[in-house]
């Protein structure tokens, strides 16, 4: 059946901010869907609150709404745009839940919007555990024995039948949020209690434990003619018990016979039919008992999922793209296979390579968080690799993670390794388990022992043993001849690992290898194991016989991506890389992308002219450069868009003679090395906070006294504010040095004056060597000292005047000139007592580039990419990529206000303190845009947290002494607009003294009152509090605040930890009470800005 002709416009809902369990894979799927739908001539209306996504670029939809993904806002957009259909299956659980809510509320019916891609009943059958269980048993398959419970009493009853341990799974949550394994009754109370809370239907499932079983996933697609195909099978190396998002996974499944695989396939197909996913994809998870093959169906996602993105990249079969076309009426046999172009999509991809995905965790950012891996997903990103064997793919994946400790290594002596200890440690699934298994196998533990401790399939363990054996051979060989070295390389050993084993250097090993003529070949991902010719250049490296990737004779640019998502380096950088690819292709270059993150748009083979799915290490990049330099003209490598990962390679690449595009490595060094940067500032006459570098406590103390407390201390050469703290006196300084870092001449500590009460300003700019384009000036809402990535900010800045902006412009220009920037520059300033201090400068794309692009309606990353390759800002103004006059610092009066808010993962890490600090911990961001700051801020809160800001109710206030004066105004306003204020005794007394009516709640350490008066935590847990304001004490015990904040996280109550945040929230609540906010598309916003600019030009006499 061809495309339906009764649908002319489709609304697509995105997945909102990047959070654990729902990351940029949905930007990838959403972007694919938007592309396809527009190519089919449909009008596309997109809603997504996340400005860092590619999909929210104005060019990917006809009307793009960066608004909160809540039924209320989406209804307003529907009322305005009147789409014919809504496609909810490409934006994760967020989109699906929103669509169901709109359906249940009758909104879709009211506006005549048809749900396509999956109907509500099918979604319900797939996601409701009871209904799904029934389906599984009706088709003759098995589910784990289980009980559905709606209360703790029911849970306790169920356990009598099932026995501990039991698995707890709340219904309708994403990424397994709220689920876990209960080993005893206290676990059950904790996990099932939270699960009942997290589930929108107050429903949890308790089921028999199948921990340790083999775990598999199938990705299926079905069309409206009932054709079903299995796109990919995925095997989890980590057995049941670890969330698949946290597991090392392998495609295709490697330890099943055809009979077992076909049985799984049959059951999968029966399920997709019975559930009724009739146009689109789904993911089904299975467990298999390794002892007897008993197969259990675990669950299904009746939508495009994280695994679908992985499966798409693993097979070359673009699931989201095909799902979008199926949703508008096509059938699989009518859609051509993208890669071969000559065969149809109604087939099952077959792989002649192995794909390994490894998760990346960020536990170091969350001290106190439990690192045990459970059914509740905890990883923040992932890397994927492709190799011709499992060892090759595994080792490539591990080095793609950019975590040194993840890479296999071998101590000098087996005797150093305590196998018994390792075997014990590896029983607990955690992020370092695979390395423990590898080390134990090397040091003498038997495969059986390691299998018993981990339940990892013996086949995988034997492969790891083979890697270990090869390591021993590498170490013991007198010299590595070509045959040996080739064998080692084909098991994935990097030059650096070989150097470690042979006590030499990576460079020496590389020279030796090249002298023997050993280089990787590049193979193609073609969906068909070479049965048909592939026309799409999607490549991976392998040490094998034949190269099949032939470089073209064009002018080409290599763009280095940003690797696995992590806190501080995520989708924002992928955004810039994708923009570079798009604009440089347009400018006539052949664009070549290198990246290893399967979740991204950059690793879609459609994004660039060529894609190398490869680790971002020096070795891997040099080999691609070598290949591509064989033919055509390699203009250079773009390193400034992918964040710190490619930037860190710049100098080494330049040392090997590789041309770097834009800002030179020497200039990068000037900005990154503190001493050199200090000189740049001194020459330009720009002030920086007083600081020093200390190699001992005594030195640190002297510097602190000299610059004055409070001071900001951190180890040198760290990223993302890692290990950074604000200390207020000598004893805190001593405590920090003892607790957080080693200090000596090799590991100095930086001590900076901390600017209390300063306004922090973030600036993105483009410099072409002559002109500066000030792309955006963002004012942080929280004070300086909170990591810029975690701070909310507003653009245009609301408290800065033209003269301050002008100073910022001049300072930024001076830094750009002094450093020698060609391309992007990000500078952080602090404005205190009229002095504009320079905090730091980064000569690269920043996290804020996409936000700035959207808020100012200018494609900043595209313009910067052109500048890097030689275009001038003046050129770009005339060709329209930049505005003719003015810049992001001179937004005309009347420009809408945009607020960016960070989204933090505290809900995932039970017990971690939520106080914001100099160390970045947010995973994602949202944007609110409106005419006034208050509404824009309120929208950002609605988008960031479920429920957003309360409009009325009880506000609990507890303030540090230093915040009390500043809080009077906003607390009074809260009271005036109808909130009941309650506080702890000290804060209550203070507020009453200023004429504010306040009730008193008991502090935690005071315990309950004589008549059972609740403590604050009790009140929060009872649901008697709607808003929590709790600013931390600068010095002294934090315990009370900590309990309160933790309770707030548990109950999902809005919690504010700074006075500035309070002030903004009050403005938000205030303005939302007085009006119902409207919605505006990015396209309308761009027209507004252009019109306002033109009007301003007329006034200025430029028109």
């Amino acid at each position: 059946m061809p495309k339906r002709d009764d649908i002319a416009s489709v609304m697509v809902i995105g997945s909102g901010p990047i959070v654990i369990g729902q990351a940029c894979e949905f930007d990838y799927s959403g972007t694919q869907a938007c592309r396809v739908l527009r190519a089919e001539g449909l009008r596309v209306i997109l809603v997504n609150s996340n400005p860092a996504t590619i999909m929210t670029d104005p060019e990917f939809a006809d009307a793009t709404y960066i608004e909160p993904i809540t039924p209320e806002y989406v209804e307003r957009i529907i009322a305005k745009e009147r789409p014919d259909a809504l496609l909810p299956t490409l934006g994760g659980q967020t989109a699906l839940n929103t669509a169901i809510a709109l359906h249940s509320a009758g909104v879709l019916e009211k506006y005549g919007v048809e749900l396509i891609g999956a109907d509500v009943e099918a979604i319900e059958r797939g996601e409701n555990r009871e209904k799904f269980r029934t389906i599984v048993s009706e088709i003759g398959a098995e589910s784990a024995r289980s009980w559905i419970c709606h209360s703790m009493d029911e849970c306790l009853q169920a356990v009598e039948d099932l026995q501990y341990p039991v698995v707890v799974r709340p219904s309708f949550t994403m990424g397994g949020a709220g689920s876990g394994i209960a080993y005893d009754e206290s676990d059950l109370h904790r996990i099932a209690g939270a699960g009942l809370q997290a589930s929108p239907t107050t429903e949890v499932l308790l089921e028999e434990s199948i921990i340790g079983w083999k775990e598999y996933e199938l990705e299926l697609m079905r069309d409206n003619k009932d054709n079903v195909v299995v796109i990919c099978s995925i095997e989890n190396l980590d057995p049941m018990g670890v969330h698949t998002g946290d597991s090392i996974t392998v495609a295709p499944a490697l330890t099943l016979t055809d009979r077992e695989y076909q049985h799984m396939r049959d059951v999968g197909i029966d399920i997709i039919r019975a559930v009724g996913v009739d146009t689109g994809g789904c993911n089904i998870q299975f467990a298999i008992n390794p002892d007897d093959g008993r197969m259990i169906v675990i669950e299904m996602n009746p939508r495009v999922s994280r695994s679908s993105a992985l499966a798409s990249k693993a097979t070359g079969f673009p699931i989201a793209k095909i799902a979008a076309r199926l949703a508008i009426g096509y059938t699989l046999d009518e859609i051509p296979n993208d890669i071969t172009k000559s065969t149809p999509a109604s087939f099952e991809p077959t792989l002649d390579y192995i794909v390994v995905k490894v998760p990346r965790f960020a536990f170091e950012k969350f001290p106190g968080a439990d690192t045990t891996l459970t059914t509740n997903m905890k990883s923040v990103g992932e890397a994927m690799s492709i190799g011709r064997s499992f060892p090759e793919a595994l080792q490539k994946a591990l080095r793609s993670l950019e975590k040194k400790e993840a890479i296999f290594s071998w101590p000098a002596d087996r005797a150093e390794v305590d196998c018994a200890d390792l075997l014990n440690l590896m029983k607990r699934p955690h992020d370092g388990r695979l390395s423990l298994a590898q080390l134990a196998l090397w040091a003498g533990s038997s495969l059986e022992q390691v299998h018993e401790a981990t339940n990892i399939d013996p086949w995988f363990l034997d492969q790891i043993m083979q890697i270990n054996e090869m390591a021993d051979v590498i170490r013991a060989a007198d010299s590595l001849d070509a045959e040996f070295l080739f064998a080692a390389k084909s098991m994935g050993f990097s030059d650096r690992q070989i150097a470690q084993l042979r006590n030499s250097t990576e460079t020496e090993e590389r020279r030796h290898r090249h002298s023997l003529g050993i280089r990787p070949v590049y193979k193609t991902v073609d969906t068909c194991a070479a049965e048909f010719e592939a026309s799409t250049p999607y490549h991976y490296s392998s040490y094998d016989e034949e190269n099949e990737a032939f470089p073209t004779d064009r002018e080409k640019v290599i763009i280095l991506g940003s690797g696995p998502n992590r806190i501080g380096q995520g989708i924002e950088f992928d955004y810039s890389c994708v923009h570079a690819a798009l604009t440089l292709s347009e400018a006539g270059y052949e664009t070549i992308m290198v990246n290893c993150n399967p979740e991204t748009v950059s690793t879609d083979y459609d994004t660039s002219d060529r894609l190398y799915f490869e680790p971002l290490t020096l070795e891997d990049v040099l080999e691609i450069v070598h290949l591509e330099a064989q033919s055509g003209n390699l203009v250079g490598v773009v390193v400034q868009l992918g964040g710190q990962t490619p930037l860190g390679l710049a100098q080494a690449l330049a040392d090997e003679g590789v041309p770097i595009v834009g800002t030179s490595p020497a200039a990068i060094h000037l900005a990154e090395e503190r001493g050199a940067f200090g000189q740049v500032l001194a020459r330009a006459g720009l002030p920086a906070p007083k600081h020093g570098t200390a190699s001992s406590f005594q030195e640190a103390q002297l510097i602190a006294v000299d610059v004055g407390y409070p001071v900001l201390v951190r180890p040198s050469y760290v990223l993302g504010g890692r290990g950074m703290e604000i200390v207020y006196d000598d004893s805190m300084l001593a405590d920090y040095l003892e607790r957080s870092t080693e200090i000596n001449a090799d590991h100095p500590v930086l001590v900076d004056r901390f600017l209390d009460d300063a306004i922090e300003i973030d600036v993105d700019a483009i410099f072409d060597g002559t002109d500066l384009y000030l792309a955006g000036v963002m004012e942080h809402i929280e004070e300086a000292g909170i990591h810029s990535g975690d701070s909310a900010c507003v653009l245009p800045p609301i408290t800065l005047g033209p003269s301050e902006i002008e100073r910022i412009r001049e300072s930024t220009r001076a830094i750009a000139e002094g450093v020698g920037v060609i391309g992007l520059l990000n500078v952080q300033y602090a404005l205190a007592d009229g002095v504009l201090y320079v905090l730091e400068a980064n000569p690269r794309a920043s996290r804020t580039v996409p936000f700035v692009s959207k808020a100012t309606a200018v494609q900043v990353a595209k313009a910067a990419s052109r500048v890097m390759l030689g275009a001038s800002i003046a050129d770009l103004r005339t060709t329209g990529l930049l505005p003719l006059h003015g810049d992001g610092g001179t937004l005309p009066e009347g420009t809408a206000i945009s607020v960016k808010e960070a989204v933090l993962p505290f809900g995932r890490f039970h017990g971690v303190d939520t106080v914001l600090g100099p160390e970045m911990r947010s995973t994602g961001e949202v944007m609110g845009i409106d005419d006034t700051f208050g509404v824009a801020y309120a929208k950002s809160q609605d988008a960031a947290y479920s429920g957003g800001l309360p409009s009325s109710g009880v506000a609990f206030v507890s303030l540090a002494d230093r915040d009390k004066d500043a809080a009077i105004g906003p607390v009074r306003r809260l009271s005036e607009i109808g909130f009941t204020i309650v506080a702890t005794s000290g804060t209550a007394k203070f507020l009453r003294g200023h004429g504010i009516e306040v009730g008193v709640l008991r502090k935690q350490h005071e315990g309950r009152g004589a008549d059972g008066e609740p403590t604050t935590v009790d009140a929060i847990m009872n649901g008697d509090v709607d808003l929590i304001v709790n600013t931390p004490y600068g010095v002294g015990p934090r315990a009370d605040g900590y309990e309160i904040r933790t309770a707030a996280v548990t109950k999902g109550i809005a919690s504010i930890t700074t006075v500035q945040g309070l002030s903004a929230a009050v403005q938000g609540i205030d303005s939302m009470q007085s009006m119902q906010p409207g919605v505006r598309s990015m396209q309308e916003h761009a027209l507004d800005v252009a019109r306002l600019r033109a009007e301003a030009d007329v006034l200025d006499g430029r028109g």
């Binding site: 499944a253 016979t257 055809d258 087939f347 002649d352 045959e483 070479a530």
Partner: protein, 385 residues
């Protein structure tokens, strides 16, 4: 390290001690795998990611050297249930990474031990993707595998030997693979039909699928004539898959024509499809590199539905795809085509009860999407009563 001691070092095979020599002169060097020695055959590649045991034991692969495109082979060992016949039929086996450790609860032996025991010469460490691309571009061709001492001869000598080995085209291999004596596979759950299955190289899953539908299957040698078969009073006659060039299968064509003439329902799979083609007067031809895999999209032209199917054929029937055509037995039509390349995948007689498919509805290895064809055969037999 007791259990795994004997594995240690097995992956560092040192010098490459095996040669795969192609008839066009390309030589690829790898490691001896399975039995050591020399073997010849037509090199074909199979793209299935599972099911190597079924592939190895499928009689249709007789005299072929099978190249597996999936890189890791042998992970689940071999077991007592999944064989498609009582022995391995491939003449040689080419893989990239053989498993050293078997991991499956049903495994009874490791694959390599099984290969060695049955004297199957293989080669590992080959860039099987490069080889597959070569075969795709140049077509299936004769190869030789030489391992151990045999690999030490100069390439020119090895090439001469390969060029002297027999061609697949024109090969009549049925007598090599067919059963010597008739045997019976009883119906499961009560007999409803009797089927005479002409064994041209039958896979054991095929009679099993029929038995599941109440058919008692009388498997008969390929040289049985129609008189012998009709004495069984079959409700239907089945013509199996098998190796070789269909152009040589005169006897089978005669038997099938007799069956059709007698009005007995006829069903053919793979080689059986080519026999039906010939019985209807259609020519067969050799495909450049054939279809071998378990992911092939076949469209049922009567419903428009697509099934994902298992294929193993190097020859195909040439028939008009549009509309019915005349045959000595009335009208017939193409019922199924492969969507990848439009190759005829099924034939259906419109005036007599006979049909066939080029692919493998019995699957083993492969998906079960085409299972319904056995029901269709049962229906035909029911109607013919």
């Amino acid at each position: 390290m007791s259990a795994s001691d004997d594995h240690v070092g097995k992956n560092h095979r040192g010098k490459r001690n095996a040669v795969l020599m192609l008839e066009d002169g390309r030589a690829m060097r790898g490691f001896a795998y399975g039995a050591e020695g020399t073997t010849f055959g037509e090199a074909v590649f199979s793209t299935g990611m599972t099911g190597y045991q079924e592939t190895l034991t499928d009689p249709s692969y007789h005299r072929q050297v099978v190249v597996m495109t999936a890189p890791h082979i042998g992970n689940t060992g071999v077991n007592l249930e999944d064989g498609e016949s009582s022995r391995i039929w491939v003449s040689g086996f080419v893989v990239r990474d053989p498993a050293r450790r078997t991991s499956n609860w049903r495994a009874s032996s490791s694959l390599e031990d099984e290969l060695r025991e049955q004297g199957i010469v293989g080669v590992s460490g080959i860039d099987t993707r490069a080889l597959t691309r070569h075969l795709r571009e140049r077509g299936a061709m004769r190869v030789g595998i030489f391992s151990g001492a045999a690999a030490e001869a100069p390439d020119s000598t090895l090439l001469e030997v390969v060029l002297a080995s027999p061609l697949m085209q024109g090969a009549d291999l049925t007598s090599d693979v067919t059963t010597a004596e008739p045997y019976v596979i009883p119906a499961l759950g009560g007999r409803r039909y009797t089927v005479a299955a002409v064994d041209l190289g039958i896979k054991s899953m095929t009679p099993h699928r029929m038995a599941q539908r109440g058919m008692e299957v009388q498997v008969v040698p390929a040289n049985f004539d129609w008189d012998q078969i009709s004495q069984l009073a079959p409700d239907g006659v089945f013509f199996s898959n098998g190796p070789g060039d269909p152009a040589t299968a005169e006897h089978a064509v005669d038997v099938m024509q007799a069956a059709i003439t007698a009005g007995v329902p006829v069903f053919g799979i793979c080689f059986g499809n080519q026999i039906l083609g010939r019985a209807l007067g259609l020519p067969t031809y050799k495909l450049r590199y054939g279809h071998r895999g378990i992911n092939q999209p076949v469209q049922d032209l009567s419903t428009g539905k697509v099934e994902v199917t298992a294929h193993n054929h190097g020859f195909a029937v040439d028939a008009p795809r549009e509309g019915p055509f005349r045959t000595p037995f009335g009208n017939a039509r193409v019922s199924h085509v492969c969507l990848n390349d439009d190759v005829v995948e099924g034939l259906e007689c419109l005036d007599v009860p006979a049909f066939s498919v080029q692919y493998h509805p019995e699957a083993a290895a492969g998906p079960h999407d085409a299972d319904y064809l056995f029901d269709r055969f049962a229906d035909l037999m029911a109607q013919a009563r």
